[in-house]
């Protein structure tokens, strides 16, 4: 990897995304994490994740082309990746374990319950990363979500309203996770790859020849890390990045450019993010010509779906599939995030079905987006939907319906990378800054990325 790579970081209100690209603008790696209260750390983790992803891709292709290891690639490649994720997870789990026990210090009953609970969690974690199917079953990739769900479930089994209330046990997790998330850990490829490979080779019961070849291959990768030209930041938290002004871009420009890169015919972009919705018009170079966004009210944005999911005790990703089962449209007048719960409960009390309410909710969200699109100049011939909500099939169906009703036949693009579109645009800007000789050395460059 002697050629330069470029990093884009999108610090959103809910998640922080990062993308690494090469000189030919191919995506090498993607990283995502929850934005939490510490934007700096979220940025560092997302970028680390993107670089890990890029290195994992290289590892897979190197394995596939290796004269000795190629025969083992089908098992070894996913196994190393699983071991690597396990390593990352267990590092954070160790930190969580330490924090929980520190918080419970001096309270023998609580300490006993926690020790037992955390031991069971540790066992479960081993299983969680034991095979591909188990990985796929996880509802979220974020440590906070995985560990949180586990902890709550195991706490329920151990809670006793009189002697050890559930809230007391879970309260320990809530305090500990903030510290764990905000202190960070070494989750880099360089810091964990060797141990991950060891674990996989042991599980695989590899012979000495395979072991030696694998170790040599990994050393080669580690000796030639990505050379980052520069990083560009975007998203709501961009002002927090320690980058010079020319390495910070508005997410409106980044989503426009990212969408153009993926689908060069794009002329209109809709981005529904965590707290805002943007209608963007771009020209044939991906340059923004006009845009509109919601004002200070975040009604109908991604966060709204998050609240709805919480109210219904579902994961955000489960909302869309359930909404697709709707048999009738319930008309939802308000997409106010604050009143989301109230509206939902009212509909349920009127006897409406959950899927029908969700169907109506998704249509209401897209109706609001349609208004913003109209204000930005309408929907042109080729249209791209970006942001996290583009992964929601019910939102996509409502959008297709409403675009058809209002504008007629249009090409509608949705990339599996839609959530990374802003980060992709930022990465392209990073390449342009480097090409123009404006990227400041040491800032957002390789040395800083490793720090």
């Amino acid at each position: 990897m002697s050629k330069l790579s470029y990093v884009g970081i999108d610090l959103g209100s809910t998640t922080t995304k990062s993308v690494v690209i090469d000189d030919d603008l191919n995506i090498l790696g993607r990283g995502i994490t929850n934005s939490r209260s510490n934007y700096d750390l979220a940025c560092q983790i997302a970028r680390t994740e993107a670089l890990v992803d890029a290195q994992m891709s290289r590892l897979r292709s190197t394995l596939a082309d290796h004269r000795v290891l190629a025969d083992h690639v089908k098992i070894l490649a996913p196994s190393v990746e699983r071991s690597f994720r396990y390593r990352q997870h267990i590092r954070l789990f160790d930190a969580l374990d330490r924090e929980c026990m520190a918080i419970a210090e001096g309270k023998p009953d609580l300490t006993a319950v926690l020790a037992d609970l955390l031991a069971e969690m540790r066992e479960e974690t081993e299983k969680l990363f034991s095979g591909l199917s188990a990985m796929e079953k996880r509802k979220s990739e974020f440590f906070r979500d995985i560990a949180g769900a586990q902890f709550q479930r195991l706490a329920e089994h151990r809670a006793n309203p009189k002697t050890m209330p559930y809230e007391t046990i879970v309260g320990v997790f809530d305090r500990a996770i903030i510290k764990v998330e905000n202190e960070g850990d070494d989750l880099t490829f360089e810091g964990n790859a060797l141990e991950a490979l060891d674990r996989s080779l042991s599980q695989y019961k590899a012979n000495d020849a395979v072991r030696a070849a694998a170790a040599e291959m990994l050393e080669g990768l580690l000796a030639d890390p990505p050379h980052i030209g520069c990083s560009v930041g975007t998203g709501y938290g961009r002002a927090r990045l320690p980058f010079p002004k020319n390495q910070i871009r508005s997410e409106i420009l980044c989503h426009g450019l990212g969408a153009h890169q993926m689908f060069p015919g794009t002329r209109t972009v809709l981005d529904i993010g965590g707290q805002d919705t943007k209608g963007i018009q771009v020209d044939d170079q991906g340059i923004v010509t006009s845009f509109q966004m919601n004002d200070r009210c975040a009604a109908g944005c991604g966060r709204y779906l998050g609240y709805i999911a919480d109210e219904m005790n579902l994961g955000v990703h489960e909302l869309g599939p359930l909404a697709l089962k709707a048999t009738r449209h319930v008309r939802i007048s308000s997409t106010c995030t604050v009143f989301a719960g109230a509206e939902l409960r009212e509909r349920l009390s009127l006897g409406e079905k959950r899927e029908d309410i969700l169907g109506g909710l998704h249509r209401a969200i897209i109706l609001r987006a349609m208004s913003i699109l109209a204000r930005s100049g309408g929907v042109d011939e080729e249209f791209t939907f970006t942001g996290g909500v583009a992964h929601n099939p019910a939102a996509v169906r409502a959008l297709r319906d409403l675009i058809g009703e209002n504008y007629g036949k249009r090409t509608i693009n949705i990339s599996p990378d839609s959530i990374y579109m802003g980060a992709l645009g930022a990465a392209i800007f990073a390449k342009r800054e480097t090409d123009a000789g404006r990227a400041e050395r040491g800032v957002g460059s390789q040395s800083e990325a490793r720090a």
Binding site: D284, Q285, I287, R296
Partner: protein, 435 residues
């Protein structure tokens, strides 16, 4: 980058104006004791020369509201008005004024006397009528005079429209002023005031036109609201007003000679990367923060429509001592607030061209139904006429709850970066139409 904005020096003319306004509010506070009559009236279509003719003191409710906004008092006043039953959607100038009048104290902390006359000059804003109905309820003893200015719906002023306004001046406004003051209308005295107005107007136009220089020595929007201060308030038609514009003009000419930009909340803005035209009033509660969002990006506002709500002097209008009542009618009919949407769009497009602007920005006001309506149409039309991109932000006049700094900053930064991206040569512009 947090800095103490109070340490940034002010332009000498700003200091002079502050003294003038402070002194005026002092005099206003003791007007009843000093035997002076007080008239409440609005900035667009104000008849200040006629009021001076009768030696009465004007009080401008929307100026009080914006002053309350800048002094961080409007939030409480609005809450007071909402307690009285005014809804969230009502114009916040009105609510701030209603809340302020309940306290009896004006924006400078001095007493505001009750009106002897409510002189409603109606120029395009429907809310003005409702506002004065409320004031009449609050001050039932006050006389009321209504001057109805026909809207330029077709974009022209006909002789009939002009005659209709003159007739109202003669049969409604002047008799009411005579009744309230016990003084006879003196046309020669009015001519003298009009002559002073025209002199001050020359000064103001020279200042506003100076923004055609590079760098622009003024900010024609944020700085502009200070420049229009005296001429939009009690000082039009006075010697004090003429002197203010002499000082201001000299100050601006010095900056032109030295190739200096205006003083902004972040310091003197010499490095001007973007030249912008603005439509809509500024936000007053976060005025300096709002201005800084422009200045930090190197954006200078070279022209604005807001600075024309009290008169389109830059388009050639001057008060004419030779035709006292006719000129007052022409003035009222030609106010920016009295123009229809196509006229507003053409005026903005003209500014974009004449001031060689890179683009234009609409600040849409949440609680102003009269003037925010149609701004998206204006945006598209000006883009079509000029080929320059428009930006759109939303805030409010004086309700601090409606200023979302993060959202506005995000939009402004995106807009300026869009301009930069286009400038870098790869961008395409909408096709330019002829004006």
């Amino acid at each position: 980058m947090k800095e103490d904005l109070r340490e940034i020096p002010k332009e000498p003319s700003m200091v002079l104006q502050k003294d003038m306004i402070g002194d005026y509010f002092d005099r206003l506070a003791t007007a009843p004791e000093d035997g002076k009559k007080v008239v409440y009236t609005f900035v667009p279509g104000n008849l200040t020369e006629l009021l001076h003719n009768f030696d009465v003191m004007p009080v401008l409710p929307e100026i009080n509201a914006l002053q309350s906004g800048m002094r961080k008092r409007s939030g409480n006043y609005i809450s007071e008005a909402e307690k009285l039953g005014h809804s969230e959607d009502v114009c916040t100038y009105v609510k701030s004024d209603i809340g302020m009048l309940k306290t009896g104290v004006g924006p400078t902390g001095k007493r505001i006397p009750p009106p002897d006359l409510l002189l409603l000059s109606y120029t395009g804003c429907f809310t003005f009528m409702k506002w004065f109905e409320l004031l009449k309820q609050q001050f039932p003893k006050s006389e009321v005079a209504m001057l109805h200015i026909p809207y330029q719906a077709d974009g022209v002023v006909t002789p009939e429209m002009r005659g209709y306004v003159i007739d109202q001046l003669e049969t409604e406004v002047i008799p009411k002023l005579e009744k309230v003051t016990g003084t006879k209308y003196d046309e020669d005295k009015l001519r003298q005031h009009l002559e002073l107005s025209a002199k001050a107007e020359e000064g103001l136009v020279a200042v506003l036109d100076s923004a055609k220089n590079r760098p622009s020595p003024i900010d024609g929007y944020f700085g502009g609201v200070f420049y229009i201060g005296p001429i939009f308030t009690a000082f039009r038609g006075t010697q004090q007003g003429v002197e203010y514009y002499d000082v201001l003009r000299k100050e601006v000419e010095e900056r032109v000679a030295k190739k200096q930009g205006p003083i902004t909340p972040i310091g003197q803005l010499n490095d001007q990367r973007y030249r912008i035209v603005t439509e809509g009033p500024p936000n007053w509660t976060s005025f300096r923060e709002f201005w800084s969002m422009f200045a930090n990006e190197g954006a200078v506002c070279v022209a604005s429509t807001y600075t024309k709500v009290g008169g389109l002097y830059d388009q050639g209008f001057r008060h004419d001592p030779g035709d006292p009542l006719g000129t007052l009618a022409d003035y009222c009919l030609g106010c920016y607030t009295n123009l229809n949407l196509p006229m507003r769009s053409k005026l903005i497009a003209k500014y974009v061209k004449e001031f060689e602007a890179d683009g234009f920005i609409c600040n849409s006001i949440k609680s102003c139904n009269s003037f925010s309506a149609g701004q998206l149409l204006i945006l598209r039309e000006v883009e079509r006429l000029t080929g320059k991109p428009g930006g759109f932000i939303e805030s409010d006049l004086v309700d601090p709850r409606y200023f979302s700094a993060a959202n506005i900053k995000n939009r402004l930064e995106s807009y300026f970066q869009m301009l930069e991206q286009k400038r870098s040569g790869k961008g395409s512009a909408p096709k330019e139409a002829s004006l």
